[in-house]
Symmetry: C2
Subunit: 412 residues, 2 copies
């Protein structure tokens, strides 16, 4: 769905440029040029022309492969030292983390800051930091992805019920200096996107990703795309009444599954105050010590998973955030609660339940991927070409290739 087909000769070239660049990005800039040529079913001559063009436009930069078996040594195309950079930020209930990402997925953390949970407190300093880094990096910045712990509507309006955020206009609060495109999305959807690209959902046709933080988020991943497109209003499995509790949820509905899973539920189970994005340490303490609270949490998680497995039949269920720890500490409670809710035909071949390969980094990485998804299109590359008219200005090719600093050791 994402990559549309070419219909003219011109679009054909553009399309192959995108395919090559995406292949480099998706493999983490680890495949050799000859490998890529084979994978993409290109003629060696075609690959030659494409790589040369992309290198001249500062999109790719080739380096010698560290080892070979025989024959003429091949090169590894990776990010250009002056190439595109995606900014990504993960805004949690109590802190945010900002990072710069190169093509291929290398992440450089630019800053981490706690905040007070209010919209202004969370986003004002962030906007300044983004503006500063953008000024420093210039035209290299090709977009900003923002992960947030609540439903995101079109235009970047965000609601986080347990923080009291009501239709918070994120683009506005970030100020006018935010780069374009500005992609605001749900943290769970982003985590799922990252899992689909670089984690345990890679190559999986239908997967289910669940992100457990203060709240519970869940989203279906189909053919590498989280449902609701990572910018939409999906990813809200946490607000389905799957566990049969009639408790009113802060979102305004009744009986939401998310009431029984996550840090807030742990705190409530032991009688502590919860909500407002406070109490991460206490929750982690409960998680580490209270067998009973953990079992209740894991059981509720299992019942909901079973319901979703019935409906969607995923091949794999992945857990991130506190999910992996719940599974390790109370795996039997989880699976035991699953069983009775499963359809008989699902019990024969239940999906694997796995812990995320990316841990707490998923949301940030997904925000990055969404920026590169927008960039790695015919339109995105056309924009880059236009904003970099001075392709080969001063140095001959041989010199620039030989003397430039290798991409992956260079600070961003």
């Amino acid at each position: 769905m994402s990559v549309n087909g070419a219909t003219t000769s011109g679009e054909l070239r553009a399309h192959n440029r995108v395919r090559l660049l995406r292949a480099v990005h998706d493999c983490g800039a680890r495949h050799t040029r000859s490998q890529l040529t084979r994978d993409l079913r290109l003629a060696r001559g075609t690959a030659s022309v494409l790589v040369a063009g992309l290198a001249e436009e500062r999109l790719l930069h080739e380096e010698p492969a560290p080892e070979h078996v025989r024959g003429r040594p091949t090169q590894i195309p990776g990010p250009h030292p002056d190439g595109p950079i995606a900014l990504a930020v993960d805004v949690r209930e109590d802190a945010w983390e900002l990072a710069a990402c190169e093509l291929g997925g290398r992440v450089t953390v630019l800053g981490v800051r706690p905040h007070d949970g209010t919209p202004e407190g969370a986003l004002a300093l962030l906007g300044e930091a983004v503006a500063a880094h953008r000024a420093r990096l210039g035209h290299r910045v090709v977009g900003l992805g923002v992960a947030l712990a609540g439903p995101v509507r079109h235009g970047g309006l965000v609601d986080i019920a347990h923080l009291g955020w009501r239709s918070v206009d994120v683009p506005h609060l970030l100020g006018g200096a935010a780069p374009s495109p500005l992609i605001v999305g749900n943290d769970t959807a982003f985590a799922a996107l990252a899992e689909a690209r670089r984690g345990r959902l890679r190559g999986v046709r239908v997967g289910l990703h669940l992100h457990v933080d203060f709240d519970l988020g869940g989203v279906l991943v189909v053919d590498g795309h989280p449902l609701g497109g990572a910018t939409g209003v999906g990813a809200e499995f946490g607000h389905m009444p799957l566990t049969g509790s009639g408790r009113p949820c802060l979102c305004g509905a009744i009986g939401c599954w998310g009431m029984d899973v996550g840090a807030n539920a742990l705190l409530r189970h032991v009688g502590l105050a919860y909500g407002g994005g406070r109490g991460r340490e206490q929750a982690e303490h409960v998680l580490a010590t209270s067998e009973q609270a953990v079992a209740a949490n894991a059981g509720a998680l299992g019942r909901g998973i079973a319901a979703l497995v019935n409906a969607h039949d995923p091949e794999v269920v992945t857990l991130s955030g506190h999910g992996p720890e719940l599974r390790e500490r109370a795996g039997e409670a989880l699976l035991g609660a699953c069983e009775p809710v499963l359809m008989a035909i699902r019990r024969e071949r239940p999906p694997r339940i796995e812990s995320s390969a990316l841990g707490w980094r998923g949301s940030l990485l997904g925000a990055m991927e969404s920026v590169f998804d927008a960039f790695l299109t015919t339109e995105g590359l056309e924009l880059w070409r236009k904003s970099h008219p001075d392709q080969a200005r001063d140095t001959p090719d041989a010199q620039s290739v030989t003397h430039s600093t290798p991409a992956r050791e260079r600070p961003v």
Copy 2:
């Protein structure tokens, strides 16, 4: 996602052939050639070559447009009188209906037969009917789509809990004479597919389709594709515990939503026997007379819809089968049950709830669409070309065009 992009000049031509043919199919063979040329952004010359090629391969056949405004009159490309035919069958709990479909979607019903609800009873005669029609139509048959009222696993294994079908091997029971490809799918998923192509979900990014028959089926439609791909094991929203009843379901799970919605639920509500695919007339009588049973059914439908709207935020919810009648007879009960389960942010802009545009025909039409989806690909057209080597064997072009019977008045 379905149509992959071309990478060589040759694939480019194949890709444009598919695009043109699909455009003809999707518009119901009602658009003129000049309209199609504009819609697909083709040069007139290119369209000329493409249409001529497709006509020579017996895929298209042009007829004069009935009316014009001014200028040279244009033609309307439609199905070729010897063109491809998709066979489609809707197998319900108590009867099946077989049809032949031309490119563009014109349906000719070939037969309707009640059966006894056993796998053999349902499928043996059907297999014979398919084989007979296939022999008659020869190479024109490009596939068979089979809609069934239960979960379908890969390979065509079907379970229908309330009929006692356990891993019924549909391809095997249909016998060896079934055409290829043989696409076995869930009736709800097919109905949703048809709704997405020719009904109220056309052009909708995220839609939810619910099919109410004896049982309840539900599936999400994203960008024109039902989740689980119309042949998968999705489309089972009916087996999520959304209504909070702890009743054991025949599927082996507990508290399934589908226990409370549909003909079986209506019969149970008034104390009649249910299950086994019997009692369609009684259920319709209950539906027409028992206010209370209908309200209970509609309320359960509404509660489940709200839960799914929370999770997926569809733009439109469409109902087929008995759904439209439930909505007409007890719309307030339905919406009233929806309200408290909805998240506050969903209440502001709730999705439209609409009745299907295709009625009970949806599953059959969806089965057809799935066959044409497989045919309208570069591979499918290549196979057709190979199996029809005698392209222009006896008659000059002018004569064959002038004298051949118009496609849409010709019996199949």
